[in-house]
Symmetry: D2
Subunit: 445 residues, 4 copies
C-alpha cells in the first residue's frame, strides 16, 4: 500500500530540483525497480504501468532478452560512446533495421542518427526539409506536439509550452487536424486552396509535419483516407511530408510504423522513444535517399553513437519484429482495451473513445474528470496519464507485450477509479471502502 | 596493424547511413570494444584515445568501478526510464551532486534535467533566460559552439553549421571572444558601450552565453580576468551569464567547473558530456534559484529520466570528486601534455599552443596541417581530432585518468605523426620506414 | 487619337527609370494635364479615367474648388512643411474632420498623422496594436493588400510582392476572406475555434486587419454580416480590429467609411489615398482613445505635416461631406455602373460581378481576358485597371463626382472594348471599323 | 512677442491628435505662414528657422522661383497624381536629374520612385539589396536613424523608437560608427575580421547602410577616410553599400550628395526630404544599374507619382545646381556657423563641435542643456532642434540659401539663449531683462 509520508524521501527533489518537474506531482512515489508492466516504489507499492514511459517502453520494463544483450555488451567492454564513428554495434543495428524493418516494407530510407531524443530527430527533419526545398515555412496541425527545442517548439501547438520559449516562434503555420471541425468542412480545403492561390498570403511550405495519432494533443487519430489525401496533396505541390512517429511508431498502433495502415510513404520519418526497446535514449531520422543532402558534419551531436541503445534496439527488432506475434498481440489487446474503455464511456455523458491500437483513451466533456481519474487510479496502483490541451483525456498506453490477464487487471482498476470519480462528479456518494478493497490485490507490498 | 580493406565491413554505413556522418571519414575503423584510454577495432587494431568522445569520456572508456554500478543496477531491474518521476537513482544523484559538487563550492543552483544532450541543456538555458528577463537577444562569442537545434544553432558561430538550418537564425548577436583582436582593443569595450547607449541599436540582451575554452572553435581559452570582467559587466547591466560547460566542465580543465579558476559564479550553467561519467546521454541545467520560474511541464522531454546515467553519474562523483586526486592528475598530465605539444610547436613556424588543462592543442598557420597530423596519427594508432573554423588546430583531449606512461605513449605517436607531416610540408623526404617502425608498438593486434 | 510613336518621348523613362515601373507598361502615354474625369496625353489624346489614381482621386482630377484653396494657400505663403508642429491648416483639418466626419457618426477616434502614405498608416496601426496588446501576430486575409514596407508586406497576400522582401516575413497569419470557400464552410470557424483552443498552435493575435472590399485582391467585397461577426469575434477574444480603409474609404463605397454600412466600429482605421481629396500624399491612423499609448516621438516621419494636403482635405470635406449629395451620386452611378458591367457579363460565360459602390468590376474565368480588355479600352481612350492575383478582374473606379453622361460615355467604351476582346477570344472576327467609330467621340484632341 | 495663451487655439490638437506628437511640445506655437528663413505664428510672432523641416527645406520656405513653377503647374491643371504612369513633369525631372546631378558626377544610377518618404526609400533599398544578394542581414551603425516602418526601424539605433515596433526586429546587426570608441580601435577591425572568419557567427550581410552625418543620432560626421575604407571593405566582400542621404544629401553638407567629398560611389543611395526643394513629399532610390532586378510592380505605392513635387524638384535643380553658387554659400555659411558655435562651446566645459557643412551643432556633457537651449531659443524667436540619443546636441540646420545677415541674426539669438542657460546651469543669475531686450528685434509681429 503506497506510503503517504513522502516528505522525507522526496525532500531533495523539492529543495534541489527545478519546479519544471511534472509527472512526479501526479505520481508522488519514489520508484526503485520495474519489470514488464509492473513498477515498484521504495515503500513497497506495486503499480501496473499503463503509461510505458510515454511510449518509450513499448516492450515493457527491462525485458529479459534485451537486458541480457545489454549486460553482455557492457560486461564485454563494448564501445559505449562512439559519436559517429563506425562500430560493430551500429553496423548490426543498421543491418537489422534494413533487414527487419525497411526491406520487408519496400522502403529505401537513408538513416540518420541525429542525437538521441525525439526533438533532435524533429529538428533534423525540419533542417533537411528547409535545406532541400529552400523554403522556410513548415505546416503543423492543431494540437500537435513535436518537442521542446526551438525548432520543434515552433511546430508544437500547446500555448503554455510555446510561451516557454520566451521569444516568438518562427516559420510555422497551423492547419486543422483530421476532424478538427467534426467533419463540417472538406479535408484540406484550406491547404489545397491557399497553396494554389498565389495571392493567399501563405507561402508554399517546405514541409508538413504530422502525427498519425496525436499522443500529447488528446489522442486524436487521423483516418487513413485523411492521411492519404494529405500525402497526395503534398506530392502535388512538391511539399515534403514528415511523419513524426516518435510516439505512435515502433508498433504502438499495430504495425511497426504508424502510417503503414494508411498505405502512405512519408518523405521523412522521425523515430525515437521505443526504437532502443529498453527506454535508452536513441533516435533516428529516416529520409528519402535524394533528400540526404547534408555536408559531412553539418548536423552533429555528442550522443549520436549511444551503442548500448544500438544493442538493445537490434535485440528488440530481432525479438519482436521477425514474426507477426507482436502485431497480433497489439490487435487483441487493443480490442480488449476498447471494451474496457467503453465501460467507462457508458458511465459518462459525452465521453468519447479516442486513439488507435494501444494508444487509446477516453475524452471527457468535463475537463477536470481525467485528472481525477489519474489520481484515483494512482491511489489504486495504476499509472495512467492524461492528454489533450486541457488534460481532458485519460490516456492508456500499456506495453505492447502486455498479457490478457495484465490488461484485465489494469482495466479493472481503471474502471473502478473512473467509477469512483464519476460518482463523485454526479454528486453520489463515493463508496470508499469498496475502492480500498478493490485496490488491495493490485499491490504486492 | 589496421586493415585497409574496409569495403565489406563498412558497406552498410555507406549504403544506408546519411552522408552527414563525419568522424568515421577520418577514422575509417570499425570499433568493437574499449577500456580506459584504449579503443579496439574489429581488425584487431588498438588505438590510444586522445579524443575521449569529444569530452564525454573524461574517466576513460568503461571505467570498471562505474561499470560495476551500472551492471548491478541493470541486473537488479532498477528503473531504466522514468521521465521526471521520482526514482531512487535520481535522488542519489541529486544528493551526491549537492554534497560533492555544490555544497563544497558554496553553490545553491537549482538542478533541471532538460533532456539528455548538451543542446537540450543550452536550449533550456536560453528559454529560461528569455522567459525571466522578457528580452529576446542572446549574445554569444565568435567561434562559439553550443549545439545543433535551432535555438542553440543561433548562438553558434560556424557558418557551415548555421547554413544547415535552412532558415535565418534569430535573436542572437555576436561579440569578440577573448583575444579575438590579439589584445589590440580593450576587453568588452563594445558590449559595455552599446549596452549603455540607448541609441546603439543593440537591444539589451537576455543573456550572454560563453565557453571558458572553445572546444570546437579552436581551443581558445579565456583568461580569468576576461571572465571576471564579463561577469561584472553582465551584473552591472542585469544581463544573465550562462556558462556552457558541456565540453570544458566535469574536470576537463582541472576543477569540476571550468569557471572555478576564474572565481566567477554564472547565473546558469549547462553540463552534459561527462556528467554521466560513462558516455551515457545525460545533461543538467543549473540555475540561480530565483530563475527557476518554470511552470510544471513547461519544458519536457522523453529521456529526462535516464536512470542508468544517474547511477554512473553518482558513482563517478563519488569515485573521482571526493578527494583531490583527479585534479592533481589533470594538473600533472596537462604539464606533460604541454611539454609534448611544445616539441611539435618547435618544428613549425607560427604554431601556437592553445587551450587549458587537458583540453589543449596546437594551432598551425597552414590550415591543412592539423588534418594531416590527425590522419598520420590514426595510421600510427592514435585518435586525435582537429578543431577550429578551418580545422587548423590539433586538439588533444585524453581521459582525465590517463597515466603518465599512457600520456607519454600517445605523445610519442603524436610527435612522430606531426614530424612526418611537417617534414612533408617542408618538402623534405618522409622517412616512411621509421614511421612504420615507430608505429608498431602502438598496436596490440 | 493616341500616338503610337512613343519611342522618343519616353526614352528617358526606359534608360533611367527602374524596371519596377508598371502602370506605364499598360498605358504607354505621357500624360500632361487632367480635369475631372479626363486625362490628357502630350500627343493630344484624351482619356476617360475609370481608374482615379487607384482611389486617390475620388473627386476627380484637379477639382476647381479644391484647387482654388490650394493655390490660395500656396500663393499666401502658408506653411508648406511643418512636421508635427501645430499649424492653422492642420487645426482646420482636425476641426473639420471632427465636425464633418467623426461627430455625426458618433466616433471618438484619436487622429494620428503617421506619414503621408497608406503603408505608413498600416505600419502605424500594426505597431500600436502590438504595443498595446503585447502580442506579435496579426491576422490578415487571403488576397489582402496593405502595403510594401516590411510590416505591411507581411500582412499582404500576393506572393510575387512578398518575395520582393528578399527575407522571410514575420508575425502574420492568414485567414480566409469572406466567401473564400464559396460558402462551403461557416464563417470564422477557423479563427473562433483556434483562438479558443489553447493547444491549437495559433497564438492569440494582437489584431486582425481587413479591407471591406479587396481593391487589389480582386474586388471581393465582404458582406455586412461577415464584418459584424468578425467584429464580434475580435471583441470576444480581446483582439483589435483594424480596418484598412485606404482604398475603400473616403466615400468610395457610398458612405465616408466603407464599414459604416455594416454597422461596425473598428478599433483602428487606416485612411490615405483620397483623404487629401486632390491626390496629394496624406494619411491618417484613427484609433480608439485608450489605444493612443504612444510616447511623444515614438513614431515619426518627415512628411507628417504636409499642409497643402491638409488644405485640400479640409476643402474636400466641406465641399462634399456636409450634405448627402455625393452619397446619392455614388448610389446612382454605382447602379448605372452595375448595369453596364452586366452587359459585359452577359457576353462571357462564368464572368461575375465583383465589388461594392464605385469600386466594382467583372471577374473572368479566363485570366487573360481582363488584361486584354484593359489594353483595348486604352486604345479606345479609357483608363481602366485590372485586379486580382492573376489580374483576372476588370476594375472600374471612376471619380465619385462623375456625371451620368460621363459614366455612360466610359461604359460605352468599356463594353465595346470587352466585346472586341470577347469576340476575339471566341474566335469571331473583331469588327475593327465599328470600334474606331465608337471611340472617336471619346477624344477631345 | 509669442502669446502664452495657447490653450484655446491648440485645444483641438490636445483633444483630438495622438499623444505621439512631439515637436509641437517644444514649440507650442501655431504656425501660419513662412518665407525664406522666417516662419510666422498666428499670434504674430516671427521665428528664424534653424531647423528647416529637419532637412526638408534646404532652400528655405516657399522659395519664390519654385512657388512660381508649382502654382503655374497647378493652375494649368497639370496632372497631380499619376502613380507610375509617364508624365511630362516626371520626364522633365528625370532629364534634369540626369543632366544636372548624375552626368556631371559620372554616375549612372537607375532611378526608382519608391513612394514619397525617406522610409519608403530605405525599405526599397533594403529589399533590393536582399533580393539581389540572397542574403538577409544588413549592418547599420550605432545611433543610426533610417525610418519608422518595420524594415527601416530594424536598422535604426534608438531604443525607444525600436520598442515602438511592439515586436522583435530582424536581420540587422550593428557596427560602431566612426569614432564610436574615440579612436581607440582600428576602423572596421570588427567587420573585416568577422566577415573573413567563417566561424564568427556573423553571417555575411546583404548590405551596409550608413549616413555620412548622423542627423538624428547626434550629428556625428564620418571622416572621408573612414567612408573610403568602408566602401573598400564592402567591395572586397561583395557586400552592398547603401548611403542613406535623406537628411545629409541635397547639398546639406556642401556637395549635392554628402558622400562626394569622400570620393566614394555607393551601390544604392536613398534621397528624400529636400529632393522636391519645397517640402513636398518625394523620395528616390538610386541604384547601380545591375541591381535593378525588380519585376514590374514588385514594389509599388500610391504616391510614387506626386507631380507637383516633380515640378518643384526640377525647378530646384535648375535654380540651384547648375552653377556653384549654392555650394559656395554653404561653405561660407558653414564657416560662419562654426564660428558662432565656438562662442557657445567656449562657455561650456566639455562641449564639442559636431557635424559637417550646414548640419552642425554642439554636444554638451550635461544632457539637459541642449533641451534648455532649444526652449530658451524658442522664447527668443529661434527654431533650433536637439539631436542625439539623450537629446544632448543642439542641432543647427538653416536653409542653404540663408544670407550672412540672417545667419548672424540667428546665431546672435542662439548664443544669447545658450548663455542664459549656461549661466543658470552654473548657478549664476539669469539676466532676464537683457534677454528680453535681445529678443525683441527677432520678432516682426
Amino acid at each position: 500500500m503506497p506510503s503517504t509520508s513522502t516528505s522525507t524521501t522526496t525532500s531533495v527533489f523539492e529543495t534541489r530540483e527545478s519546479q519544471v518537474r511534472s509527472y512526479c506531482r501526479e505520481w508522488p512515489a519514489v520508484f526503485t525497480s520495474a519489470q514488464g508492466v509492473y513498477q515498484y516504489a521504495e515503500d513497497g507499492s506495486r503499480y501496473i504501468d499503463f503509461f510505458s514511459g510515454a511510449g518509450a517502453l513499448n516492450y515493457g520494463h527491462n525485458h529479459p532478452e534485451l537486458k541480457r544483450h545489454l549486460i553482455d555488451y557492457l560486461a564485454g567492454d563494448g564501445v559505449t560512446h562512439s559519436l559517429d564513428t563506425y562500430t560493430v554495434a551500429k553496423r548490426e543495428f543498421l543491418e537489422t533495421f534494413e533487414e527487419v524493418v525497411l526491406a520487408p516494407r519496400g522502403l529505401d530510407y537513408v538513416v540518420q542518427f541525429p542525437g538521441p531524443t525525439g526533438t533532435n530527430s524533429v529538428e533534423t527533419a525540419l533542417k533537411i526539409a528547409r535545406k532541400c526545398t529552400g523554403r522556410q515555412d513548415v505546416v503543423s496541425f492543431t494540437n500537435a506536439f513535436h518537442g521542446m527545442t526551438l525548432g520543434s517548439l515552433a511546430v508544437t501547438g500547446n500555448s503554455m509550452k510555446r510561451a516557454g520559449a520566451g521569444t516568438p516562434l518562427y516559420h510555422s503555420s497551423t492547419a486543422p487536424y483530421d476532424d478538427y471541425f467534426d467533419g463540417e468542412t472538406p479535408d484540406f480545403m484550406w491547404l489545397e486552396r491557399t497553396w494554389s492561390d498565389s495571392g493567399s498570403g501563405l507561402d508554399l511550405p517546405a514541409a508538413v509535419i504530422v502525427e498519425t495519432v496525436q499522443g500529447e494533443g488528446g489522442l486524436k487519430a487521423a483516418r487513413g483516407v485523411w492521411l492519404r489525401e494529405l500525402a497526395a496533396l503534398c506530392r502535388r505541390h512538391d511539399v515534403l511530408l514528415i511523419v513524426d512517429d516518435v510516439q505512435a511508431g515502433c508498433g504502438r498502433t499495430g504495425r511497426f510504423f504508424s502510417f503503414e495502415e494508411a498505405g502512405i510513404v512519408p518523405d521523412i520519418v522521425c523515430l525515437s522513444k521505443s526504437i532502443s526497446g529498453y527506454g535508452l535514449p536513441m533516435s533516428l531520422t529516416l529520409m528519402r535517399r535524394d533528400l540526404d543532402q547534408w555536408e559531412p558534419g553539418e548536423h552533429n551531436g555528442t550522443f549520436r553513437g549511444h551503442n548500448p541503445a544500438f544493442v538493445t534496439a537490434t535485440a528488440a527488432l530481432r525479438t519482436f519484429w521477425t514474426d507477426g506475434a507482436i502485431e497480433q498481440n497489439v490487435a487483441a489487446r487493443a480490442h480488449q482495451l476498447r471494451d474496457g474503455l467503453q465501460r467507462i464511456i457508458a458511465r459518462s455523458d459525452g465521453a468519447t473513445l479516442r486513439g488507435r491500437g494501444l494508444l487509446a483513451g477516453v475524452a471527457f466533456e468535463d475537463v477536470e474528470v481525467a485528472g481525477r481519474i489519474q489520481a484515483a487510479a494512482f491511489e489504486r496502483g495504476l499509472l495512467v496519464e492524461t492528454s489533450g490541451p486541457s488534460g481532458e483525456v485519460v490516456k492508456v498506453m500499456p506495453a505492447l507485450t502486455i498479457t490478457e490477464a495484465e490488461m484485465a487487471e489494469g482495466l479493472e482498476i481503471l474502471v473502478d477509479a473512473a467509477s469512483a470519480v464519476l460518482r463523485r462528479t454526479d454528486g453520489t456518494a463515493d463508496a470508499a471502502p469498496t475502492v480500498a478493497a478493490d485496490r488491495e490485490p493490485a499491490f504486492a507490498g
